[in-house]
Symmetry: C3
Subunit: 362 residues, 3 copies
């Protein structure tokens, strides 16, 4: 597979979708501002029952950011003239008069808190289905130990999707950390479920060098069988099921796999503004769960790897900023998953636009 | 009064008007550059008689800023190739030849120095009437003691007009300095003189908490009668007549008012470039005139308050920069004065454009 | 000569020309990135024979800069996914598959290394004539001692051409270094060879003050005869033949000139992006060749002078950025050379466009 693609300057945003806005632990009794698909949003937890609230981060009066104001119980008070909003976004106080105008309200956003993540629905709230939020259960499962963080990148979110769906870059960009020659050399298999919007890319290495990331955390010191099974649920959730075992050790016929080490690597790719993306990352393991040293090592090393991606994508975006509209790139086999992801994202973006247009004509 | 307004991205500039360019004390024998309504201007005082001169800050030769050059007696020498201009903007020397081209001149601007302020006329010099410069006499009156300064703001000047015409923000943005709950609670009365381009907003609080700004400077320690009478002379001059007295102490029938404390708060709002404005501020008092401690206290506290406005307007402008053209806002009673000011500014801007068009066709 | 010129915002780039990309000493076994006429280029020397290679600095795969990768022998390995290019720009390795797509190549640029400079051809490689590279032989001649450097300027390259072709600015901008009153006062003679694209501007001062630059380096302590003969080979190479001698000392009838001091000042003016230019400068002398103190003095002083130009042109560009499209300037006699240079540059730019259009239709 080889192909030349002519590209637009920016990957379109897919509305009417769930996006990770934050880790649950990031949201409390201070207002937190995040901009998602160009929409500025203020997040906080209620005093009464700890629910996460998401309101448009612009006062209806003069558009001052609510995040520059303060919480008063379960309400938000604008820091400029004191307009005060309840958890549904309805204004309950304005200065200088008793009557609050009926139209004084800010949009509120549907929120689901699940698997330690806070998801927000960007689009028509009537279409939000809380049961459609994709799962990453190990993030909040006591049998797994998880480290994680979030790094913002000054790049089109499509560049991060590209990056994560083609792990052959590990060999070059992350050499000495998670990359070894076998990653770039081993062919991949790709499966695309267009309807569900899921892309699966697998690379099974039978006999590979053990990179430092795994050598130090598992204690294996010979060569390994290394499986990388990617499952990308467009647009936001990316799962990398990673399996490490001494060479030749395979799962049993019943699927049990007691002699392997499993790592679930979770990314949430949340577009912020046109050329900014939040890169949420987490690494969960089912071994050495209580070993603080392994925990610290995996956190620091994976953060280093993420920061290598951040640096590379910042550089790449700067390079693309100087390209003419409609510049070209050349794709090969390793890009099959990434190209499928782009196709799905384009479809989701078009569907989101269509829904918005229908809603507008009603 | 409630209303939804659709807004343009920028408040139009009103030409053929006087604007404050500087305090007189800022201009001397060093060239001072200020950009007013997008026009870069070089200011200096003559050696011969201390007059303030204002010339376009661009050499006619290659448009190098004159402020990057130097003064030679009453003339300005360009720092690049030495083109030299007299106080009227006529070029009197060029390098490499004896003859100075007839067309070698830069525009000069009408200037009035009055009440310690340097006013400059932006527009057609033939229309400049020095007697039309509005007054703020206490700024240069020995019976008053004045502190002041200037802070640039990275915002549309219209945001500063909004800010100053609606003092209910004092309760939220300046809480603990000049704001108390009564400011936001007390209704205002607004008078608009469309012809003269003057907006008056009054808020008379009969029984109010005394904010630290006044408690420490006047020595009053109980509750107060607090009057705030705003007089905005569009586009540039904003006066806030502030009267503080113990509760129940009122002016005599003849207007005499010996038992009250008076503070004249003067602002000059001078648009620089599209989203930059010079915020000149001064606080004049008729009590404790020689008390240095009160002087220092009022200077520092008012500067802190101004910097709170600067920070808020910088944040607000950044928020508005991401709004679509034609975004909306919701106005209530407290905004009556600000909306009137916007109406007058729009009319002055249109008149300035019209005059320019007429002049161009002559 | 007096004239008003209406200017466009940017001097057009002349393609199908040779440009100085670097000093030879800047290029070795580390990848060096330079952007020339908006084209990002990666430079390096081969391990095998020290030749300078110039490749487009964008991987054909995802347009990651090759300069963010590394050298492997004579090849360049992309730092993102390992695409590997030979010295001609042909891709010789891609990850995950054996077959390298036929279209996988990046443009390579014709290069000439001469007189210590590395020249690169921007335009159609088929038109590149290595014999057409202009000469500055003293830069690599053992009878001359040379100091030099390169300073980037955030300005239209046309501003640097203007600057160098009118040395009357020395009197004002470089007063106390290389400027004296006589430079601005002495009329110039200008000769233009439109066909060859060469502009010559001469200023012969018979009896002039000796500026510090020459007083300290030559040891002359009285007044001097000072000749400045500019030879500008558009678009890139600027030569200033400078001759200093005690007053009255002239060359012999046979052209011999043993009692004068000669300094060859070489500039290469290489447009980078629209408002960025590389300012290469070198000062070569035929006296005190081995005197380290003179060498250090001339280096430091000339660098100071160049940085005065850099600062002035950065300021000038910022001023011009706020001018309306089609702003005007006023030219006088001193500008004759600069105006001729602009005319030639406009013609070369038009010819370059025309050639590109012809090539595109083939």
């Amino acid at each position: 597979m080889t192909g030349v693609t002519t590209l637009a300057r920016m990957t379109a945003f897919a509305r009417n979708q769930w996006y990770v806005a934050a880790y649950g632990r990031e949201i409390g009794r201070e207002l937190l501002g995040r901009t998602i698909l160009n929409e500025p949003i203020a997040f906080y937890r209620t005093e009464s029952d700890d629910t996460v609230i998401a309101l448009a981060d612009r006062c209806v009066h003069r558009r001052y950011p609510l995040t520059a104001g303060r919480l008063d119980g379960d309400t938000v008070v604008c820091g400029y003239h004191g307009f005060t909003y309840d958890t549904g976004g309805t204004c309950v106080f304005v200065p200088g008069q008793k009557r609050v105008p009926r139209t004084a309200r800010v949009p509120s956003y549907p929120v689901v808190e699940q698997d330690s993540l806070v998801w927000v629905w960007i689009g028509d709230p009537a279409l939000a289905d809380p049961h459609a939020v994709p799962r990453a259960p190990w993030l909040a499962d006591p049998r797994w130990t998880t480290v994680g963080g979030m790094e913002p990148i000054d790049a089109d979110y499509g560049l991060l999707v590209d990056n994560l769906l083609d792990l052959s870059h590990e060999t070059y960009l992350h050499s000495g950390y998670i990359g070894t020659p076998e990653v770039a050399e081993t062919p991949i298999t790709t499966e695309v479920d267009e309807g569900a919007g899921v892309v699966r890319v697998s690379r099974h290495m039978d006999d590979a060098e053990c990179p430092p990331f795994y050598a130090r955390s598992t204690g294996i010191d010979g060569r390994i069988t290394r499986w990388q099974d990617i499952e990308y649920h467009a647009p936001c959730l990316y799962l990398l099921h990673s399996r490490i075992a001494p060479v030749g050790v395979l799962p049993g016929p019943d699927g049990s796999d007691p002699d392997a080490f499993h790592v679930e690597i979770t990314y949430a790719i949340t577009p912020s503004t046109d050329h900014h993306v939040y890169d949420f990352w987490a690494v969960s393991r089912d071994f050495a769960q209580d070993d603080e040293e392994v925990t610290t090592f995996l956190h620091d090393l994976n953060r280093t790897v993420v920061l290598q991606d951040v640096a590379a994508l910042n550089v790449l975006q700067k390079a693309l900023d100087t390209e003419r509209e409609g510049y070209q790139e050349l794709s090969i086999n390793i890009d099959t998953g990434g190209l499928a992801a782009r196709r799905i994202l384009a479809r989701l973006a078009a569907e989101g636009e269509r829904t918005a247009a229908v809603a507008a004509t009603k």
